[in-house]
Symmetry: C2
Subunit: 138 residues, 2 copies
DNA sequence: ATAAACCCTATAAAATAAATAGGGTTTATA
DNA sequence: TATAAACCCTATTTATTTTATAGGGTTTAT
């Protein structure tokens, strides 16, 4: 399951996407809209900013704003940033690979093979669906 | 990511599958083979048994054994039993549905729609791949 | 000047996952 | 029929991760 961090990040990005005609959006406004703790959300927005997914303006009248087109923000990127691996096993993760402790021969592991399939099908969706797709509906 | 419980369960079932010509298999043998704590594994095997996925024989000379053909044990069933929901969000879980707290209108939520797709593609694999498929390789 | 806003790091609280403990019950076999 | 080997059951503890909070620091429009 996705963590709250990731869910909050997706909601925040959606909110920013909806208000992209405004110059900046306040943390507070996003937090209130979705019932998220201001401070918790602040940490998440900072992470998104460090990852180059959004920009901010300090000082009075400042706030956050998207610096990319929604179509250029794949959901996989958001999830990986906040949650880590998308794969169901460390041994099939593309971005966070680790061998499985209890597994002797990865090359001959049937569980491994199935989870590679799951990973690939999941990524087919999450790498191609973007913030734009979410904005279309919600 | 799958929990250790689920991974251990899959390994234990695989081990039982490989030794299905023997009448019973000891917890201890499975635990040693995969470096799992005997007691932890015992709890997992009990859960599998309660769920009707394997049988056991008490007393001296006893142990565990499969009571179904490997082809009749879909991986989805094992994962759901030990880990709970397969879906990435509670609001798209078929077996463990719950509304999302921060979501106002599920029907109009773009995140929800994408995660339904991910769920369906994942289930297409996990409900059709069985212990037999794992045994074929490992 | 000053108030409003983001920036940063550290810590605490809560929830979950993983492991351990300790005995109870059953049964093959000597 | 005594006994040892094996599963059965529940509760508790420990470790890890997630979620949230705290407390200030820095920047900037007005």
């Amino acid at each position: 399951m996705l963590s709250k961090k990731t869910k909050y990040a997706l909601h925040a990005l959606t909110y920013l996407g909806k208000h992209k005609d405004e110059k900046t959006v306040l943390i507070q406004d996003i937090a209130e809209e979705h019932g998220i703790s201001h401070k918790f959300l602040e940490n998440i927005l900072l992470e998104l900013k460090k990852a180059g997914m959004l920009g901010s303006k300090k000082g009075k009248g400042g706030g956050y704003y998207l610096i990319k087109e929604p179509k250029d923000i794949p959901l996989s990127k958001v999830i990986r940033l906040l949650d880590g691996p998308i794969a169901l096993l460390p041994c099939v993760s593309l971005n966070y690979y680790e061998p499985c402790a209890e597994c002797k021969t990865e090359a001959l592991c049937g569980i491994n093979k199935v989870m590679i399939q799951v990973r690939d099908e999941t990524l087919k969706i999450l790498e191609n669906k973007t913030l734009e797709d979410i904005l279309k509906i919600g």
